[in-house]
Each structure stands twice: as structure tokens, then as C-alpha cells.
């Protein structure tokens, strides 16, 4: 495939601007390939983030022609309109520089949603047997493959309106743990996700589901948390 792509990349911090580059077209070229070409051949000071290049690590997400996407697995041929590509940092997060968004608020909210495993046993206890087809395990499995890419967070308008909203990924993670029978911290977790700007702030727009590159459904997970927290409240297990 011969030809040239007209690429504009965000340069600078929050007060930066889009700068144009001409990048040679290649077969099976990904958006990450394009960004890397600019960094190697046009301007070595271009900042961006990636690691695995195969859709595992979740570090390469950017805004591509207006949509948040994982750039290492987004083919240019699928997203370029008339050979034009506009790439910026992820939305709903502060910009560090160029294409690198500051992911700290995203990961801080995982902690706020108690998105970490709290063991209920020690290494001397026998291993807990979990039936793979128990409803709780099936629910956890459906949501577990998150790569922490932040695409859903950038796509969520509720995050845009309410910067304190925990967001789809953190709540999706909390849901997997709520369904983990080995976890010991679910009262604290349900309390945390039921608080202001938690699961009940979600409007079920499904933008997160629509954009998630690994086809997870945070909307369904959050709906699960809405029900679970409501039940826990009615049973007096958590307080408002």
C-alpha cells in the first residue's frame, strides 16, 4: 500500500495544540505504528505510552479520530477517514505531555472502589474449592479480563460531568471481587461503591461497553452492584 497519511498529533500539555505530520502508509499498519514512526523519524521528543503491542498491557490507549481506542490493535485502515488520522491523549484525564494522559486519577479510583483482593484465609488453610459454573464465579469471569486501559473511563460522559465518579473500570473490578467468595472485605467494598459518585451515579448509557476493546460489559457489572448494594442496605449490612 503506497501513499501518505495526514496525521495530526496532540503536542504539549493541556494548553497544547494539534501538529500535522506526513507518515508513509504501510500494510496492516496500526495507529501505534504511526505514532512510533513519528517519534523515530520526525520528532524524537514525542511522548506516548505503550508496552506489549499485542493488546495485553492496556498502556497504549489514546483518542483516535474522536474515539478512545487501544492503538496497538487499531488498524489505520479501519479508522482513517480519507487518509486522515487525528490522535490525542485519552479524554477525562489530565494530560502529562503529548499523547500521554495522567492515569493517576483512574488508578486512585480503583483503590477507592476497594478494587483489590482482601484474603480471608492464610497459606496454611486448605485451598478453597470454587465450582467454575457457580453463578458468582460466572459473573466474576465475565468481568475479569480487564486490561486497565482506561478506554471506558474516557468514553463515559458521567465521568466527564462528575470528576469524582468512580467510573466503569473501577466499579467493574469491584464487581468481580463482590463475586469472589474468598474475599473478606465486601462490607467495606459495598459501602465504598454505594457512596456518592459510586455505582448509583451511573446512567447506564453503555458507552463503556460499546468502547471496551476486550468486549467487557461494565454497565452490567455496575447494574449488579446497584442491586447488591440495595439488598445489603435493606438487610442492614451497610449504612447509607
Amino acid at each position: 500500500m503506497a501513499g501518505t497519511l495526514e496525521v495530526s498529533l496532540w503536542r504539549g500539555g493541556a494548553d497544547g495544540r494539534y501538529v500535522g505530520y506526513e507518515v508513509p502508509m504501510r500494510d496492516s499498519q496500526t495507529v501505534l505504528d504511526v505514532v512510533t514512526w513519528v517519534q523515530r523519524n520526525a520528532d524524537a521528543t514525542l511522548s506516548y505510552r505503550f508496552a506489549c503491542r499485542v493488546g495485553m498491557c492496556g498502556s497504549c490507549a489514546m483518542t483516535v479520530n474522536g474515539r478512545p481506542r487501544w492503538t496497538c490493535r487499531t488498524h489505520v485502515s479501519k479508522v482513517a477517514s480519507d487518509g486522515k488520522l487525528k490522535v490525542g491523549p485519552l479524554e477525562n484525564l489530565p494530560v502529562i505531555k503529548d499523547l500521554a494522559a495522567d492515569m493517576r486519577p483512574f488508578f486512585e479510583k480503583w483503590q477507592q472502589a476497594q478494587g483489590r483482593f482482601a484474603p480471608s484465609k492464610t497459606r496454611t488453610d486448605p485451598i478453597e474449592r470454587i465450582s467454575p459454573d457457580s453463578p458468582a464465579r460466572l459473573a466474576a469471569n465475565a468481568a475479569i479480563e480487564c486490561i486497565n486501559c482506561g478506554v471506558c473511563y474516557a468514553a463515559c460522559d458521567t465521568v466527564r460531568w462528575n470528576p469524582d465518579y468512580l467510573g466503569p473500570a473501577a466499579l467493574n473490578r469491584a464487581w468481580t471481587l463482590v463475586n469472589d467468595v474468598r474475599d473478606a472485605a465486601n462490607v467495606e467494598r459495598l459501602t465504598a461503591v454505594a457512596a456518592d459518585s459510586g455505582c448509583h451515579a451511573c446512567h447506564s448509557h453503555q458507552s463503556c461497553q460499546e468502547h471496551c476493546p476486550v468486549a467487557l460489559n461494565p454497565t452490567a457489572s455496575i447494574a449488579g452492584l446497584k442491586r447488591k448494594t440495595a439488598q445489603a442496605y435493606l438487610r442492614g449490612e451497610i449504612k447509607p
Binding site: G66, S81, A155, H205, S207, K226
Partner: protein
């Protein structure tokens, strides 16, 4: 390729319709109560009101209001079902169904008042 590019999906539009119809309903509600108030405050005024309400433009706006209520209620029931029952795929289809049903309701309403 602006911020609109990821805001054209049917479900995003469904949320937009839900919000705008909710706000429009809230704005019209006082007038609805005003009309009811007039209706119970005396026969003469009710007569006048009913004559006023018999105008085509008024009937059309009533049709719009009925449509807003129908689309908001059906869309709202879809959300309540989505959030409170087991997950169902095909929400786009349900949202489109809600809009279609609301249009049928408006049609039946207009056919019955004209």
C-alpha cells in the same frame, strides 16, 4: 471528528431523548396543573378552557406532550429493567422499540382527538 463522533450511537441518543423529554415534561407540568385547576374552579372557566383546547394547534401540542410522556416512560422502564433484572443483550433494539411504541401512541392519540 469532533467530540460528536462517539456520541451518535443509538443508546447515546436514547439517553439524550430521555433527558430532554424528562426536562420538557418537567417544564410542561405546571401548565398541566393549571389546566386541571381551571377545570375544577368553575364551569364557565372550564367551558372557556375546553373551547381553547379544541384548537388544532393545542391538540397538536397535546399530542407532543403525550409523545414525550410515552417515550420517557418506556425509555425509563427499559432502564429500570436493565438495572434491576438479569442482563439482556439487544438494548438498542429495546430503545428503538420504545421510540416506535411512543410514535404509535401519539398517532392513536391524534387520531382520537381530531
Amino acid at each position: 471528528m469532533s467530540m460528536l463522533s462517539r456520541r451518535t450511537s443509538p443508546l447515546w441518543l436514547a439517553a439524550l431523548v430521555h433527558r430532554l423529554s424528562g426536562l420538557a415534561l418537567a417544564a410542561f407540568l405546571p401548565f398541566h396543573f393549571l389546566a386541571l385547576g381551571l377545570a375544577i374552579s368553575g364551569e364557565a372557566r372550564l367551558e372557556g378552557f375546553l373551547r381553547w383546547a379544541d384548537q388544532p394547534l393545542v391538540k397538536l401540542s397535546e399530542g407532543l406532550l403525550v409523545g414525550l410522556l410515552a417515550v420517557h416512560m418506556l425509555g425509563g422502564l427499559r432502564l429500570l429493567a436493565l438495572e434491576n433484572l438479569a442482563w439482556r443483550e439487544g438494548q438498542t433494539r429495546f430503545a428503538l422499540l420504545a421510540v416506535a411504541a411512543a410514535m404509535v401512541v401519539v398517532f392513536v392519540f391524534l387520531a382520537s382527538v381530531f
